[in-house]
Structures are given as structure tokens and as C-alpha cells.
Symmetry: C4
Subunit: 256 residues, 4 copies
């Protein structure tokens, strides 16, 4: 296997679907939202993507069987109840720069095959400290989209993220523009230290408004509550140890 | 030489062989087992694989001649005394992620050419401390294989290995499933600090039961005894130096 | 997108243009000069280059829209007022060695398509300390060019830069020679710690003489003045902290 | 330029030439010998090789002109005074593993085109301390060559070099064997800290015996004397500073 393999799992007829991408990234915000949507909306897997750009690895599942790391595309026929959806999820993003470009190109090919005209990419924006009031930072690949997104509660902040947007969530906007596809990136503001289901809820709220659909939030809410408890304990520990230790945050990354 | 080179050494007619892979990895457990089997079963070399994904290196042998680093496939016609075998061994695994995918694809091509229907991949599972009671952790690419392997004494432990299985031993399961090939990974539990012939013996025992064959173990036993002595001395040294030094383990890696 | 994409934006008829390359590098000297020229001379964008060798990233602009990182070539019809120009600018250089070679080849292809016979590449030469008297170090790919450049005020210093010239600014000379294209690299001597508009001014002065054109310098001058103030403050801080701290320079890199 | 470029400079008719490779490596021993031979024997450049696997760099020469980094092959018609020669030299070896394989393949292609039947690769073997009595360690790709080389004064030492031979000097033996080309690696034993013309002299002595030719050594001798002086001073400094400092050797690497 020298080349990326696109494996069609199921034919599904969708009408002008919207693509939503949520691959792993900062705070796993995008991944939480997209996987939650796959589950809540009973989306069906239509494509699996295997690539030498992913880590050379299988994951061991709880029943003792393995899963080859991959990206997946799910389809969701909403039967007029809001737009049809194409959901992009996965275990990893590419381990190489070149792979990010190749995989983004593949996602855009799929989008065009299905007649997608708008893409939402989901991610987290790490600010290095715990977030009190959740918010969703956005960027878009057309100026008209900026005003529209503000209407859904997304925030645009000059020069943020200062480092740009890295990975598939950025490239779908940048390379999508070259194919004249509208694309918006919604980033849940998060500490960046932990998996952040609270930021994910906020992203999902903005996205639901943009898509004019409703998605049950209970699973994310429960996960957010658990995480709040963990954070509470961590902050307590931090306060207790602060006079003696610093940089302890380092060890808390991605618990969850 | 820009591409991987598959060099056929000998034609060998095998009937429904089982493939066994034991390339270098944690504790060199898989390598010890597979090379031991090649020797004990008088397997014959049928294929050499050279690749730009291996380190750009020759090994110097004791007679002053060199050996280009490579992977090799041996065949073993068991004449009805258990299943015929294809044994995959080598000096190195790929030095790149992409190479792991390419080489796994090549091994699977060879497997399919020979009509292989089951693959065993062998490795070590490093737990960071010396192991008192040897055991063999397993993972499989089909749920039916899990129960079967338990019958041979392999252990399945939820969420272990937590990091998944990396390299050819993992990919032959994951990519093998895409070709509908049954595959099992047997991992000898080991410290991960030293070459571990004792873990290799345990893996070989489980594998022999699975294959319904017998393989002499004397060479591995002798090597295990030597290693026990080394470990005894190391532990003595560690106890002696413990009050003054820590982290000394670091220097003991892969003595053997 | 697995391959570099050359996107033609506009046809422009140019007569024997000179190519000037100013991509990001030491002190961003080349980038400052080339982008300043694009602006001052009202050059028109004719080509955009996207590549998997660039970081997988979009930049977020002040209006909330994104820009896919890329290199760009601008054309400038000077209508007889000095030579026509092809200006190469961009957000990044290649993130891989191979990409530097590929992109340099593409720039040379464009140069040959437009009938370019001479190329100036612009960069900085970092000397690790603040520069009192600005100067421009040069290198060329033909011996006749060395004398000519001295006439414009460029300095050639034996064995400098000792490490050679790395990236597109070097390769356009080296690979350009293989296509019999004259090429000169002009390097503004700079500390290497900060974006250096003063070094950029000096490079622009030499380049204007070489091209027999005039380019307004006000924007660069203003930026240089601001930077002088920052440097003044930094040096003050350094003097103040010197007895207690060393290596503080490290933190000042590329402020600007 | 996406691919390695083989540029023919001159046609030269050679009879059964022997190939000698001396690219940069440990102590620059091989490079010193091969470049010395090119000069002493008035060899003529026949091929230049440019590759994206080399660093993306030009070297600045003393006259202000640049040189694209490359490998070069020189031919030497000895007119019956010993065998004709093909000498491989260069500024760098490949910066990637894959490049080592590709370039070795190219050198072997050239060798076969010219009817080469034997290859000598030259290098250094770093032992981490200054060498009192110079010697030449060897390895070969056929057992018959081992005895022959001992006759010329080369030493074969079991399990040395323990790490094998890395880079082109190793691959020409390993990949050469696959093409049935005889190849020997001669390694001057050296500290590995400094460019070592004394080790180079010893390698040249063994090589001259093997080739039955004579090559003037004066230039290497002079360089060795200069280096002896530097080493003398370094050892003096080391003795003086020994009670206070350790690990000072680190800073002496590749002075010369």
C-alpha cells in the first residue's frame, strides 16, 4: 500500500449536502462535535480512507479486535429536516505536511462529487488558560460568510488565531476557495490542556443555528460535567501545590 | 535504486501456508521467535526485500564480508506435519511511516500469492519493569479469532496495548482485514529494556499450540538462562547503587 | 492536491524582464524589499503557486477571511522606465529540502518562459550582533557579475557566507547557472535577531542602482525608524539586565 | 527540479576502469583521498550529479561566485600505467535515507556503463580517541576479496565497525553485490574528531598497493603535518584544562 486508499462502503443519495469536518485537534473539540453528530443523527458510513500518511498503527478495541487507523466519511439523509450532511471524522490527521494537502484534496473531491456547496470545519483554539465563558471563534474563505456567521453567534477577532489555522480544518478553507466552495472554520475557545466537551457544546450550538437543525446535547453535557469535576480537582491541586511547583499543567494535557 | 526491490531466490511449492512475521521490535521478541523457527525447521529462503525505506546501511559479518540490510521471507514445506509456513524476518523495520505501509502491502501480496489464509505477527509488549510470570498478550482482526486464541493460552486485556500496535505487526492485522485475511498479533510481555528470550519462549509456546506443531526450544532456553544471569547482576548492581543513582535502567536497554 | 499547483492569474506581456526574488528568510530582508517593490511599482499578480511543500496552513486576515499560504509572482511593465520586472514573493519558503529544489525549478521555468536573462535574489546575512554600518554582501553565478556588482556598491567577502546560501535565494543562482541564466544574490548584513527594514533599504539601494530605476523608500524608512526605537529599548533593557542575565537575545528574534 | 539530474560533461573512453568513491564522511578521510587522487592524477570531470536529496544550498567560492552542491565523477585514462579509474567525489552525501539508495544506484549504473568490475569505497572509522598507529580497516562484498585485501595491508576485525557501514560507502558494497560487482570498503582508523589527512595517507597507501599504482603524497603529508601541530596544541590545552573541564573534545570536531 503505497498510495492513499479510498474505500467506498455504501452508496447514499444526498441532496446538496453540507460537509462538516471534525478530525482530532486542539482539545479534540472538532472530533467531539462531529462524532457526536454521527451518533445523534444516525449517520451512515459511506467512505473509509486509509493512507500511508497516517501513523503505521492499529488501535486495539475493547473486544480484543483491532482497527486500522483511518478517516471516515458519514452521510446523513435528513429527509428535508434541515440540509443533508457529509460528516468527516477519524482517528488521526496526517502525520506529514504533504498528507494534509493530499487528504484535504480528497475531502474536497468527495464534496464536489456530492454537490456540496458549503463546508464547516470544526476545531479548538487553545489560549493556554481555563476558559470561563465559552465562545466560538470563526474564520471564513469568503467575506460574505463573515457577516452571516456573526449572525449565528460566532466571533471574529482580528489577528486570531495569530498562527493561522493548521491542518485539514485550515486547508479545506484555503484549497476550497480555489474550487469556489464556501467554507467556514468554527473554533471552540479552549485551554488546550484537556479534551473539552464544553467548548464542543458551544461549537455545536453555533453550527446548529447555521444549519437550522437541532441536535440533542445530552451526551456532550454529561461528558462536560465529568470534565468539570476533573478540572475542579486539578485546580485544587494546582492551588495546593502552587507555592512549591510550577509548570504542572504540562502533565494534564489531554486527560479525558 | 529508487523503489523497493523484491528479489526471488527460490521457487517453493507450499500448500495453504500460514504466515508468521517476526521483525525487530520491543525486546526483539518477535525476531527471536521467527529466526529460531527458521533455524529449527530448516526453512528455505525464497524472497529478499531491499528498500530505500530501510536504513542506508550494510552490516559487517564476522568473516569480513557485508550484508545489505533487508527483510527476508522463508518457506517451510512441513510435508503434512502441521501447516506449511511462510516466515518473515529481517534486520530492520522501515525507517519511515510510509515504508511500513508499503512493506506490509508487499508481505500481504506474497501471502495472497501463496494462498495464505492466516497470519501470525509476533512482537513484545514492554511494561517497563522486569516480568516475573511470562504471558502473551494478543489482538486479532476478527472477533472469532479472539476466543480461539484464548484457547491457546493467549491473554486479551481491555485497552492493552493502550498505544495500539505500531509497525508491520499491527498493519498486517489492519490492512490484512481489508483483504479478508485472518491475522493475530501475539505479544510477549517484557520489560522492554533487554532482548528477552524468555518472553520469546512463551510466545513460541502459544504459537506452537495454535499451529499444532512442535519446535525444539533448547537454543532459546540457553539464551534465556544467559540473560537471566545478566539480569541478576543488573538487579544486584541496581540495588547496590539505588541510594545514589536513579534512572540507571536507561543504560541497560538492549544488552544481549 | 498531491502536486504543486501553478495557477495563472493574469496574462501580462513583458519585454526581457529581470526577475527579483524576495521570499522570507534571515531578518526578512528579501521579503521586505520585494513586497515594498510590488507596492511602490504597482506590480500586478500574474501567478500563484500552491504546494504540499509549504506548511499545511491558512493565514487569518484582519477581515476574518483566510489566505492559503502560497508563493506569488508579480509582473511589472515599466514602459521603458527601466527594465520590466518579475517579482517573486510569498508567505513561506518550502518546509522540505526537496521542495526548495522543486520550487526553484518552477521559478526558473517561469523566468525562461518570460525571456528573463538576469535574476536578483534578495536575502539577509545574519552576523549575530547589531549592525552599525549597513552593507550588502553579494554572490553571483558568473565571474563577470562580481565586478559589475561591486560597481553598484555590493561587497564580496572571501568565504562569506561561510555556510553558503541556503534555500531559493541560493538555488536560483546554482540551478540558474545550469540553464545559463545570470543570477546575483544580494544579502543585507543584519543581526539576524529582528526583522530588519534598515538592511532592506540598503539592499534596495544597491538593487535600484543595478536596475537603473528609482523606488520610493518612505515606507521602509518609517518602518526602519520604528524598529530603531525598539532596538534602542532592547539594548537599554539588555544593558540593565546584563549583570544578571545572559542569552536574552534569544527572545528577541523576529519581533517586528 | 523534482528529480536527480545526471549531467554529462565529457565523453571519455576508459578500459575496464576501477571505481573509487570518496564522499564526505567520518574525518573526511575518503574525501581527502579521492580529491587528492583527482588532483595528482589529473583526472577529468565526466559527470555532475545534482539532486533534491542534497541540501538546498550553494557554496560561495573565494572569487565571489557560487557552486551548486553536487557529486561529481572523474575519469582517468592511465594509458596502461595501472588500471583506468572512475573517481566519485562531492560536497555532500544525500540528506535523506532514500537519497543514499538512489545515488548509490546511479553510481552503480555509471560503473556498469563503463564496464567497472571492482569498486573501492573510502571512509573513516571513528574510534573516539586520537590514533597513535595508523591502520586501515576493511570490509568486502565477497569472501575472496577479504584475503586479497589482507595482502595489501588492510585489517579485518571481527564485528568492526559494529554499527555497520552507513551511506554510499556501505551501499555500493551491499547493492553492488546484487549486481555481481566486487566492492571493498577501506576505512582509515581515526579519532572522528578532526579532518584526518594522516588516516587518509594510510588509506591511500593500501589503495595504491591494491591498484598497483603510485600516487604522490606530498600534499597530504603537508596537510597531515599541519594537523599534527593543531592536535599537539589541542592535547596540550586538554592536559592543561583537564582538571577543570571535561567533554571539551566536543568542540574540536572537524577543525581542519
Amino acid at each position: 500500500m503505497k498510495e492513499t486508499l479510498i474505500r467506498k462502503i455504501k452508496e447514499l443519495s444526498l441532496k446538496d449536502p453540507v460537509m462538516v469536518e471534525g478530525l482530532p485537534g486542539v482539545g479534540h473539540v472538532g472530533k467531539l462535535v462531529a462524532e457526536h453528530m454521527v451518533e445523534e443523527l444516525n449517520a451512515e458510513k459511506i467512505i473509509e480512507i486509509y493512507s500511508p500518511h497516517f501513523p503505521p498503527q492499529v488501535l486495539v478495541q475493547s473486544d480484543g479486535t483491532v482497527k486500522q487507523v483511518r478517516n471516515e466519511i458519514y452521510g446523513c439523509d435528513r429527509q428535508g429536516n434541515g440540509p443533508d450532511l457529509l460528516l468527516v471524522i477519524g482517528d488521526y490527521q496526517s502525520a506529514t505536511n504533504e498528507g494534509h494537502y493530499e487528504l484535504s484534496g480528497i475531502f474536497l473531491d468527495v464534496a464536489q462529487t456530492y454537490g456540496v456547496r458549503r463546508i464547516y470545519t470544526l476545531g479548538g483554539y487553545g489560549i493556554g488558560q481555563f476558559v470561563d465563558k465559552p465562545s466560538v471563534l470563526a474564520a471564513a474563505n469568503k467575506i460574505e460568510l463573515v457577516e452571516e456567521m456573526k449572525g449565528y453567534g460566532a466571533v471574529f477577532s482580528e489577528n486570531e488565531p495569530g498562527g493561522g489555522i493548521i491542518g485539514v480544518s485550515g486547508l479545506l478553507l484555503g484549497l476550497g476557495a480555489l474550487r469556489d466552495l464556501d467554507a467556514v472554520c468554527l473554533m471552540g475557545v479552549t485551554s488546550g490542556y484537556l479534551v473539552d466537551p464544553k467548548a464542543a457544546q458551544e461549537v455545536l450550538r453555533v453550527l446548529c443555528r447555521a444549519l437550522s437543525i437541532e441536535v440533542g446535547m445530552q451526551a456532550l453535557e454529561e461528558r462536560a460535567k465529568e470534565m468539570e469535576k476533573i478540572i475542579g480537582k486539578l485546580q485544587e491541586m494546582e492551588r495546593a501545590s502552587a507555592p512549591y511547583e510550577c509548570g504542572g499543567d504540562e502533565d494534564l494535557r489531554y486527560i479525558g
